[in-house]
């Protein structure tokens, strides 16, 4: 008798629990989907580009405001994977210039350690996260095209970047994207750091010779998606 009772209790429980589950899924017929339609700027339910909705602390592609960069090299020393390369040079009058500030965003793990260490606030994360390129070497973002004088930090004066977040990275991404003709293949394919080394406080390895272009660079149509 007990077995018979169990048989029917089992049956009832199965049917009832399935009915309960079905009623939960049925309720989703009249509930709003949570999907965010991503690529369109006006996609439901944001109504504006996704980048603009990201919080202040979002760690996107690194960007450097050269107006307030003092060239202290802290960022490149802090970086655990050496994806930032900074070079300084002196001209004939002894004036120091920043000649190179490259960020290899194909290597960068967006950990934010460099940004925390930056004293002037010149290095920061942009809200840009999509940077598909026709050529992976273009992911080495070269922020300096002409030598810049480093910023001299005045004690007690808080330095603050005037440029809106993301504007610098967007500009550089646009410059490096789509394999423009006016950039020589040599320059384009120069890697940031040829040797693979672990970070810490080691001096960055010397920049190696230019890498030979892998192939004829194709003219890509992919936008920077910014």
């Amino acid at each position: 008798m007990k077995a018979v009772r169990e048989y029917f209790v089992d049956l009832w429980r199965t049917v009832y629990s399935i009915w309960e589950g079905m009623s939960v899924t049925l309720s989703y017929f009249e509930r709003r989907p949570t999907t965010i339609q991503y690529p369109e700027p006006g996609g439901m339910p944001l109504g504006k580009p996704l980048e603009e909705t990201l919080p202040e602390r979002f760690r996107g592609i690194l960007e450097i405001d050269l107006d307030i960069c003092s060239g202290c090299l802290t960022c490149s020393r802090t970086c655990p994977i050496d994806c930032i390369a900074v070079e300084m040079a002196k001209d004939a009058e002894g004036q120091r210039f920043l000649t190179r500030f490259d960020v290899d965003i194909s290597k960068c793990m967006f950990c934010g350690l460099c940004v925390e260490e930056c004293k002037t606030g010149a290095l920061r994360h942009s809200p840009i996260f999509a940077a598909a390129m026709a050529d992976p070497y273009n992911l080495v973002l070269r922020y300096i095209t002409t030598p810049v004088k480093p910023y001299k930090q005045v004690k007690g004066v808080e330095s603050k970047s005037e440029k809106p977040r993301g504007s610098i990275a967007r500009e550089v991404l646009a410059r490096w994207d789509s394999c423009r003709d006016d950039v020589s293949p040599d320059a384009r394919h120069r890697p940031v750091l040829p040797s693979w080394s672990f970070g810490g406080d080691r001096a960055p390895a010397p920049a190696g010779e230019a890498r030979a272009p892998a192939a004829v660079p194709e003219i890509g149509k992919e936008g920077s998606d910014a």
Partner: protein
């Protein structure tokens, strides 16, 4: 109900007669005309399968998306309605791969068997009063028999792929379909007993148009038989919760792992076709088929009689039938996206420990009930009323519970589907 000894009109017969009468052909042409008519009807049915199987994938994905709090495909065409075309074309353009180690002949043959088995069932699916390819006397038995060919195809594909996962999938499919034939067949016999006919049209004609005149409301046992059939058909069609032959988290993809291109599409086609078959058979046997509620009363009040071959009547029947079947299809889709999958041994125990005994009870009980109704005719009215009320209660309470679930999640009602 048709008088004894007369078969109801069917599409092949209609076309045949129409061709013969318009062209004035002699009797010698009969085989040719018959073949031509059958071919034409087969083409119509195949088109229907294609046109059903395509969009229903879109429907399923949209419904699944909604259930999962997302949107689903909405890019190809307005609201993604052309997604199925894109998928189909993509599959056609794929390379047709046959693994080197596969048994080439069987590997090629299997999709035909699977698709053929499923498609064969369309011969006896009635869409309206005349909208049936051929009204066989033994339509129900035919459906059971022809869909069993699918098993052969599934085993064949699993075996011929020369892949252990495919083989496991094929074996599972065989074990599952063979054991679920039993409860399904037994449950199908219940409406057969009630209607006294094995022909699909005969069973529909034996029912009325209103819900309380359907076979499902005949008695509590018929009500149970409907669900028994439904569960068994889910299992025969390899739908969740019985989709163990293609359990993607266990067997990668089961018997069709090694297939690509159009051969793979044939399996998918068969699966969607089967979705329609199971819903259509359930509608035919339990839910009153193509009867249009209220039509006979209205026409009768006007002093006329409904002609079986009337175009309007058939169109209305088609609409009603499609609506009922589509609702069942939606239910199957919802079940699929709600429930987890059973294990192989549990699958067997569900069949042999629960479904088979219960369908026997339903079968024998229905027979006894028929006798009892002859003695006490009032029983029939009471049972029909009660079953109908129970069915209505189940539906309404399900909706109310769903509403409660939404309120518990403190969400607003949102019926906007086209996003």
């Amino acid at each position: 109900m048709m008088p004894e000894g007369m078969t109801s009109p069917d599409l092949v017969g209609l076309i045949e007669r129409w061709v013969v009468s318009t062209l004035g052909l002699s009797g010698n042409w009969a085989p040719v005309v018959l073949l031509g008519a059958a071919g034409a009807v087969a083409a119509i049915m195949l088109t229907f399968v294609a046109v059903f199987a395509g969009p229903v994938t879109w429907v399923e994905r949209r419904v699944a998306g909604r259930l999962q709090s997302r949107i689903g495909p909405n890019r190809v065409g307005p609201q993604g309605i052309l997604q199925w075309l894109a998928d189909g074309i993509k599959n056609l353009l794929k390379e047709d791969l046959i693994p080197e180690a596969a048994d080439s002949l069987l590997f090629r043959l299997a999709p035909y068997l699977v698709f053929g088995g499923m498609f064969g069932a369309f011969v006896v699916l009635p869409f309206s009063a005349v909208g049936i390819a051929a009204d066989l006397d033994i339509g129900i038995v035919y459906v059971l028999a022809i869909t069993s060919i699918v098993v052969v195809g599934l085993i064949m594909s699993g075996w011929a792929s020369n892949n252990k996962w495919s083989l496991l999938g094929g074996m599972r499919a065989a074990a599952q379909i063979v054991s679920y034939e039993v409860p399904t067949a037994l449950a199908l016999l219940v409406p057969v007993i009630i209607s006294g006919s094995l022909s699909t049209q005969g069973i529909i004609r034996a029912q009325g148009a209103w819900p309380w005149e359907w076979n499902i409301a005949h008695s509590p046992l018929a009500f149970a038989a409907f669900f028994l059939y439904f569960v068994g058909a889910l299992a025969e069609g390899n739908r969740t919760p019985f989709d163990i032959p293609e359990a993607e988290s266990e067997l990668v993809s089961g018997y069709n792992t090694e297939y690509s291109g159009f051969r793979f599409l044939a399996f998918a086609f068969a699966e969607w076709a089967n979705l329609w078959i199971m819903s259509a058979v359930a509608t035919t046997l339990f839910l009153g088929g193509w009867h249009v509620p209220g039509l006979e009363e209205i026409v009768g009040a006007m002093g006329a009689k409904v002609a079986d071959t009337s175009v309007l009547y058939n169109l209305a029947g088609l609409v009603v039938f499609t609506a009922k079947s589509s609702l069942l299809v939606l239910m199957v889709i919802q079940v699929r996206w709600t429930l987890p999958r059973l294990r192989v041994d549990q699958l067997m125990s569900v069949s042999w420990k629960y479904l088979v005994p219960l369908s026997f009870v339903a079968l024998v009980g229905t027979a006894a009930w028929m006798l009892a109704v002859v003695e006490v005719p009032a029983l029939d009215v009471v049972a029909r009323g009660l079953t109908f009320v129970a069915f209505a209660f189940l539906t309404v309470s399900g909706f109310l519970r769903a509403r409660q679930n939404r309120i518990l999640a403190s969400e607003k009602r949102d019926w906007k589907w086209f996003i």
